[in-house]
């Protein structure tokens, strides 16, 4: 069992009879449950209300739009990934997580109206049948952390297998892939792991699986027929980072076939101004704010450009040494940084989106 079992579950009466709700409740019969429209929870007396909010679930449904464009940062090249906000708030507690400053509900919201999501996805796919749209559930939560209870990634992956122009990428820092191993992905569904050196995982990614477990899960999923991706995001600059990140790259290629690694993304640690006091208060031991992080034109703090470029160039070299053809992209970086790292830059987000589509078609052919 994972460590993410809740302490209490609230259930919106409107979704009580939903089979997905019943499935979740059945698996957590020993957890206190309460049917309530709008749970009024005050975690103010908790020593860490944000951490406490991760132990309470609210099963509900949202009548709003749950399939959206990724909230890209202005002036940076966005990859046009579509986010499915099925779960909001994450049981993993990373020190650098931006959700700490965004989530204003004292619980994890789990929208069980998967059918509505499927309708929204289908509608979008039909707007341009020749285009390949990429979707993921890893924006406002981890896609697999609660999978053993919800099975959402399994359901969505099964659904995307029936879609001609929809690609589903499951993004995670967990290793709970058991449900997904029960599905034949036909080489059409992707699972990607966010990776960091083990010492960063231990210090900054509380509750996340170890690197070894993530890679082991990736290898099993690859064997099962999933396409595998990796996200070096956020990369942290700290003494000895080169050796540590190089070792992560080596570990990836030691356990996985290079031609089934769909892509690798790179992104330096960055944060909006409001996050700094939150990190300082919640993670006083963390050193991630001690880097040379400076405000950019979009208001976010990033490592000095020279340092970022050097960091990206090095890791690109290490990756290319294992697979010169590896599809690598930068997450939320300017054209200028792309140019310095790769010697080219996509003209705009549509071109970047097209490059992804080409890559997916190429992988689907094999």
């Amino acid at each position: 069992m994972s460590s993410f079992k809740p302490r209490k579950i609230y259930i919106d009466p409107a979704v009580l009879d939903n089979p997905l709700t019943q499935n979740i409740l059945g698996k957590l019969a020993d957890v206190p449950q309460e049917v309530k429209n709008h749970p009024e929870i005050n975690l103010d007396s908790e020593p860490d209300p944000t951490a406490a909010s991760k132990n309470i679930w609210f099963l509900t449904s949202s009548s709003g739009k749950l399939v959206k464009e990724c909230p890209a940062t202005p002036r940076q090249l966005c990859c046009r990934y579509r986010v499915i906000n099925i779960i909001t708030n994450c049981p993993i507690d990373c020190s650098y997580c931006i959700l700490q400053g965004y989530i204003n509900n004292p619980f994890i919201t789990i929208n069980v109206n998967l059918d509505d999501i499927k309708v929204q996805v289908t509608e979008l796919l039909q707007t341009d049948p020749l285009h390949i749209f990429r979707f993921g559930t890893g924006e406002l939560s981890d896609s697999l952390a609660l999978e053993e209870y919800t099975g959402f990634s399994f359901h969505l992956a099964s659904f995307f297998l029936t879609q001609q122009n929809g690609f589903f990428e499951i993004k995670t820092k967990a290793h709970h892939t058991e449900t997904l191993l029960g599905l034949d992905p036909q080489g059409r569904v992707g699972i990607s792991w966010s990776v960091n050196p083990e010492d960063i995982i231990q210090k900054e990614e509380k509750g996340a699986s170890t690197l070894a477990l993530r890679l082991k899960a990736a290898a099993r999923c690859m064997e099962k027929g999933y396409l595998i991706g990796f996200h070096f995001d956020p990369m942290i600059l700290y003494p000895g980072w080169e050796e540590k990140y190089h070792a992560v790259v080596s570990a990836i290629y030691a356990s996985l076939k290079p031609d089934r690694i769909m892509w690798i993304s790179l992104g330096g640690f960055r944060y909006p101004r409001f996050l700094k006091p939150i990190i300082r208060e919640r993670f006083p031991q963390s050193k991630i704010l001690c880097g040379e992080l400076l405000p950019g034109p979009d208001g976010k703090f990033r490592y000095l450009k020279t340092l970022r470029v050097e960091m990206y160039r090095k890791i690109v070299d290490w990756i290319k040494a294992y697979n010169p053809e590896q599809f690598i992209y930068l997450c939320m970086e300017s054209s200028e940084v792309w140019e310095k790292v790769f010697g080219f830059h996509p003209a705009n987000r549509n071109e970047l989106d097209r490059l992804f589509a080409e890559r997916i078609r190429e992988l689907w052919k094999h």
Binding site: E281, P295, G296, R302, L304, K305, T306, L307, E336
Partner: protein, 331 residues
């Protein structure tokens, strides 16, 4: 909520108590911190004591429930006794005594930051109130909102050295800055007080300096004392070379150069190249903010077409200079 003993305070008769019977070292109920007794002494010396102090019997002697500063002033004025309302220890529990002192003080004066911190500690320790109660019921009375951050900041002030407590009051240092200083060891607090004594930092600059200091110490795993005793800060000990404003600027610059070494190197390099362009002072050339981006910004002012022509000619010549190319290459 208000204890019976306090309600009956009005009925209490007052009497003069010899100062020798008052244990002024017992700070159980103390919630005053204002080292300067000058004004109070003058007032008591001129017109005597207006408001009697409140004492609580403890063995043969008395604890001060309310009026700590008045007792100290009376001592200093060499009075023999002071007018007081007396309670026995049975009449007034610790918590009641604390509440009596709190409401007495609340009604007659405001609390400074250090006193507010003593009040919070008192409600916690003497009255056994929990964080939630104190935040919701006490902090608003002290003029704060009931946030968790404020509560913890006030609590942390008890770790400030006496010297810093005085500085907080004297320099009106904000709660959050004071709380940050309180997280330093007493040795580091002393070192920081020495550093700051020769500088003039406003609230924002103090906050910025504290943040940079903390981050450098955490990053380099050194203590604050080690940082400020390093070669970089030798200029702080030198007399006469720099005035206080220049010293303050030098201090901030030095701190920034240590905190952001690569950025500072880049900035230095930029200014070296810029200097070689020999631009007149009324033409300013700036790198992109944080060196993020690849565009330079040039600004100038002119009074006449002739002046504009001269600037354009100057800029035209600048375009050919190698240093300009060097600047673009470093972006």
């Amino acid at each position: 909520m208000i204890p019976e003993a306090i309600q009956k305070k009005e009925d209490k008769k007052t009497q003069s108590v010899p100062l020798t019977l008052i244990d002024y070292r017992d700070e159980t109920f103390r919630m005053s911190f204002c080292p300067d007794l000058g004004a109070l002494k003058t007032s008591m010396g001129e017109i005597g004591l207006i408001n009697p102090v409140i004492l609580r019997g403890r063995g043969e002697r008395y604890q001060i429930v309310s009026g700590y500063r008045r007792v100290l002033a009376a001592q200093s004025l060499e009075w023999e006794g002071i007018k007081a309302a007396l309670y026995t220890s049975d009449e007034l529990s610790h918590c009641d005594g604390f509440l009596l002192s709190f409401y007495e003080n609340l009604g007659t004066r405001g609390f400074n930051l250090i006193e507010a911190s003593m009040v919070v500690a008192g409600f916690f320790e003497q009255c056994g109130q929990d964080e939630k109660q104190i935040r919701e019921e006490v902090l608003p009375l002290l003029g704060f909102h009931s946030g968790r951050k404020i509560f913890h900041a006030l609590q942390s002030l008890s770790h400030l050295s006496y010297e810093w407590k005085e500085l907080v009051i004297k320099n009106e240092i904000s709660l959050l800055n004071a709380a940050k200083i309180s997280s330093f060891s007493s040795f580091d607090q002393r070192a920081f007080a020495t550093v700051l004594s020769g500088l003039k930092l406003g609230e924002n600059k103090l906050r910025e300096s504290l943040e940079m200091t903390e981050e450098i110490c955490k990053r380099d795993e050194i203590s604050l004392s080690e940082l400020f005793s390093s070669e970089h800060f030798k200029f702080l000990e030198q007399q006469g070379d720099l005035n206080i404003t220049e010293k303050t600027e030098q201090f901030r610059k030095t701190l920034k150069a240590i905190r952001y070494p690569e950025f500072s190197r880049k900035q230095k390099k930029f200014y070296e190249h810029k200097k070689k362009l020999s631009l007149p002072p009324h033409i300013s050339l700036a790198p992109p903010d944080s060196f993020e981006g690849d565009k330079l910004k040039i600004t100038f002012e002119f009074h006449s077409p002739e002046e504009l022509r001269a600037i354009v000619e100057k800029l035209d010549k600048t375009i050919e200079k190698k240093s300009l190319q060097d600047i673009f290459e470093m972006l």
